[in-house]
């Protein structure tokens, strides 16, 4: 058997695709969460800064045409309540610096209806600055008072860092879950393929039926071509079996005629030399005829095994019929045919095939048992099985050749001088296999072969 040319793996490909997608998705989710968190935290910082700036603005009073600022304690302390933050502020009246940190940048675009926000570097650290503005009429002149409050971003950084760590944890968990899901998915996706492969490799050598099990739509073309291949194979196999049967049949009839003619001639010829030649001819014809017969039997068995024509059969009766049929042959060699049979053993089998198998076993026994020998045949029923046992007083099977015996055209080493094709036990084995039965062969201690045919009871 040649190994398939393997390139790539569906499982690996699927795994890589799924896991890459999961990884990309995890990273995306982490980045998205981080970005949302950053915005949320920034907004909350802006709100606190805004509240602080407004609280300063609310403390501003006009007294005698002068702006009086009374910085509330909470306006700066509120900025430091959760984490330690450096805070800065600056107050301007129009363009004139009033108090606070005069270098603090004022976010552009601040108006008396809308605050402005800016992130900038100040005194060595990044700060978030919020400015609010309000209009005061000072001696009938409208003047803009701008309050800017700034804060370092320790809390923002910490919170974003915390969320990021959490998000990375979630991302990792998501990825790990994806690994598990991917494994299951890939397992599911490739399972029908493995099932198909198993169901095909489990089949017997002659099982060429189309695949009947349901498969996913994607695998339908594969199964269709597989079925069509098997169908063609079956047709071709059948054709060759038919050809063999036809050939055997066509050979057998002329052989019978030739055999008769040879017998007749043998009686007429007196010269010993010629008689011997004729006897050799007769023997050769017998052998060919028998081989043709067995080829025919084998073809029949092969043909019928695929589609058994089962009926209820009494095995005892069947064996007795075979014995009676073969008794003349045994008598020729002065063999003692002993039958020990139960009353009746009923099985559901194809009678023609079983008959053929029993016939073959008995024929072998008769052939290999020396003159004046004994052949014992028994039919018994155990709890689950019907057993036909045939023992003889012949030379037995050669050691180690048991398996060879059941191969096609193999004959025992001691079979020389005996007419046979080597197909007998092959036929028996095939018949038993078709009936879910077994064929056992062994040698018995007193000398001789033992063949046991077992069939499941009905």
């Amino acid at each position: 058997m040649t190994a398939p040319v393997v390139r790539g793996s569906i499982r690996r490909r699927l795994t890589i695709i799924f896991l890459s997608a999961a990884a990309a998705l995890s990273i995306l989710v982490v980045l998205a969460i981080e970005s949302v968190a950053r915005q949320a935290v920034q907004t909350s910082q802006d709100n606190i800064l805004f509240a602080s700036a407004v609280s300063i603005m609310d403390s501003v009073q006009l007294r005698d045409g002068q702006v009086v600022i009374d910085l509330p304690y909470s306006s700066l302390s509120m900025l430091d309540s959760v984490t330690d933050e450096r805070v800065f502020y600056a107050i301007y009246l129009d363009q004139d610096f009033v108090t606070g940190y005069d270098a603090l940048p004022i976010p552009a675009g601040v108006t008396d209806v809308k605050g402005a926000y800016q992130t900038a570097g100040f005194l060595g650290e990044t700060v978030r600055i919020t400015a609010v503005q309000r209009v005061f009429a000072i001696r009938d002149v409208a003047q803009n008072l701008t309050v800017a409050v700034a804060q370092t971003q320790t809390n923002v950084r910490q919170t974003v860092e915390q969320v990021r760590r959490w998000a990375i944890g979630m991302g990792l968990a998501f990825f790990m879950a994806s690994v598990g899901i991917t494994w299951i998915l890939v397992e599911f996706a490739t399972r029908p393929l493995r099932r198909l492969a198993q169901s095909i490799s489990r089949r017997g050598p002659k099982d060429l039926r189309p695949v009947a099990a349901s498969v996913p739509r994607e695998m339908a073309p594969l199964v269709t071509s597989l079925n069509s291949l098997m169908q063609r194979l079956q047709v071709s196999l059948k054709r060759s079996e038919e050809f063999i049967a036809e050939a055997a049949h066509r050979v057998r009839t002329p052989l019978a005629i030739v055999r008769t003619q040879a017998d007749v001639t043998l009686h007429r010829v007196e010269k010993e030399q010629n008689r011997k030649a004729l006897r050799d001819i007769v023997r050769a014809i017998d052998e060919s005829s028998r081989a043709a017969g067995q080829l025919l039997d084998h073809a029949m068995v092969t043909f019928r095994a695929d589609d058994l024509d089962r009926e209820r059969v009494d095995l005892t009766k069947l064996v007795h019929a075979s014995l009676e049929q073969l008794r003349p042959l045994a008598d020729l060699r002065d063999l003692d045919l002993v039958a020990q049979t139960a009353a009746s053993v009923w099985v559901q089998v194809d009678p023609i095939l079983i008959q053929n198998a029993v016939h073959n076993v008995l024929d072998n026994a008769i052939k290999y048992t020396p003159l004046l020998g004994q052949i014992q045949v028994s039919v018994q029923a155990t709890a689950t099985q019907a057993q036909i046992t045939v023992t003889d007083s012949g030379p037995g099977f050669p050691d180690g050749g048991k398996s060879l015996l059941t191969q096609r055209f193999q004959r025992g080493e001691n079979a020389r001088g005996v007419v046979g094709s080597g197909l007998g036990l092959t036929i028996v084995r095939d018949v038993m296999a078709a009936h879910n039965g077994t064929l056992e062969i062994s040698n018995i201690t007193q000398g001789g072969a033992c063949v046991i045919l077992s069939l499941p009871l009905e």
Binding site: V68, I69, D70, L71, S77, R86, V87, T99, Y101
Partner: protein, 340 residues
């Protein structure tokens, strides 16, 4: 004391130092091996005698280090670090607001304290300012005055007492001149933040001709000498360390005791950040380490357990009272209460 050499005593007028620095110093001392180039320069508002034990214990483990200890007022400390960029390795001050301002304005280095020291949350700010002692603002009174006060020691009872005997206490009560003393200003703003009683007390004191002082020690000295009956809002620790401390009583106001945190920071101008960190850790170890007890009062001041504590928080809230307008407003209110 045998581990170090006290090289120079106090120099009240130090001409040489004034050439070196633009800011005014009050005293200076060096510890450890004599040298012209000390390893560690400390700028502090605390008296030399107050801080000596801390330096001594540090030199026990680090005998090779020479330490220069310069004393200046809190405003001069601010001037030295913020304006003149004077080179010091540690800045120790009782003026929490100015310490916070130094750090907030970027004049301090961040420092990660040792993990072995369990620093309470109130004892540090932004990894830059570290508190190493807490000292309550107390009333230091003479024994005679204590008898008249009776059992209740609140601002309210004090107001009542002075009102009843305005002539008796005329000129015999002292407190900080908050225009001159940073610590006095800090105590005053915190008092005012805590309750309205403060302003009434100031008015009452103003009516009985309150004496104004720049420093706790002077006030305590005058109580001891009998010139004063009572000093309000002084550092109890100073009175306690005085050799004649048994002649006066240190009272913590029961309605609310303001507690000041003496703090330390490493200025950006330091040439020895590692050594400064080592000394800072030593200070925190002594203040909060397990052997000495958390929050121990370094100077062995009065127990804080029985009073309602208002521990001044280290944080930017303190910057509010440093605002030019806020300060002007507060001082003018104070003046109108005190100077009648």
């Amino acid at each position: 004391m045998r581990y170090f050499i006290l090289a120079i005593g106090m120099m009240w007028t130090l001409i040489g130092a004034q050439v070196l620095h633009g800011f005014e110093i009050e005293a200076r001392a060096t510890f450890g091996p004599p040298t012209n180039d000390p390893n560690l320069r400390i700028l502090s508002t605390a008296d030399i005698s107050y801080f000596e034990p801390m330096i001594a214990s540090f030199l026990e483990n680090n005998p090779d280090i020479s330490i220069d200890y310069t004393v200046a007022s809190s405003s001069q400390v601010m001037q030295a670090i913020a304006a003149e960029q004077a080179q010091f390795d540690l800045v120790i001050s009782s003026a929490m607001d100015l310490q916070i301002k130094l750090a907030n304005d970027g004049h301090a280095l961040r420092h990660a304290p040792l993990r072995t020291v369990e620093l309470p949350a109130w004892a540090h700010w932004n990894s830059m300012v570290f508190a190493f002692s807490q000292e309550p603002a107390a009333m230091v009174v003479s024994k005679a005055f204590l008898d008249q006060m009776g059992g209740t020691h609140t601002r309210q009872s004090l107001i009542g007492l002075i009102r009843k005997n305005p002539d008796k206490f005329r000129g015999r009560i002292g407190t900080y001149d908050i225009r001159r003393s940073g610590l006095g200003y800090l105590f005053a703003t915190q008092d005012a933040r805590g309750s309205e009683t403060y302003w009434r007390l100031m008015e009452v004191m103003g009516q009985s001709d309150v004496q104004l002082y720049c420093c706790s020690s002077d006030m305590i000295g005058d109580v001891l000498s009998g010139k004063l009956d009572m000093a309000y809002n002084v550092l109890g620790s100073y009175a306690q360390r005085h050799p004649h401390a048994d002649q006066v009583a240190i009272i913590l106001p029961q309605d609310m005791t303001t507690v000041m945190l003496r703090s330390v920071l490493i200025p950006k101008t330091t040439q020895q950040p590692a050594l400064a960190g080592l000394f800072l850790d030593h200070m925190l170890q002594r203040a909060f380490g397990t052997q000495t007890g958390a929050g121990r009062n370094l100077a062995g001041g009065p127990s804080l357990e029985s009073s309602a504590i208002n521990r001044i928080g280290l944080g930017p809230g303190l910057l509010v009272f440093l605002d030019r307008y806020k300060k002007q407003r507060f001082l003018s209110e104070w003046e109108s209460a005190i100077l009648q």
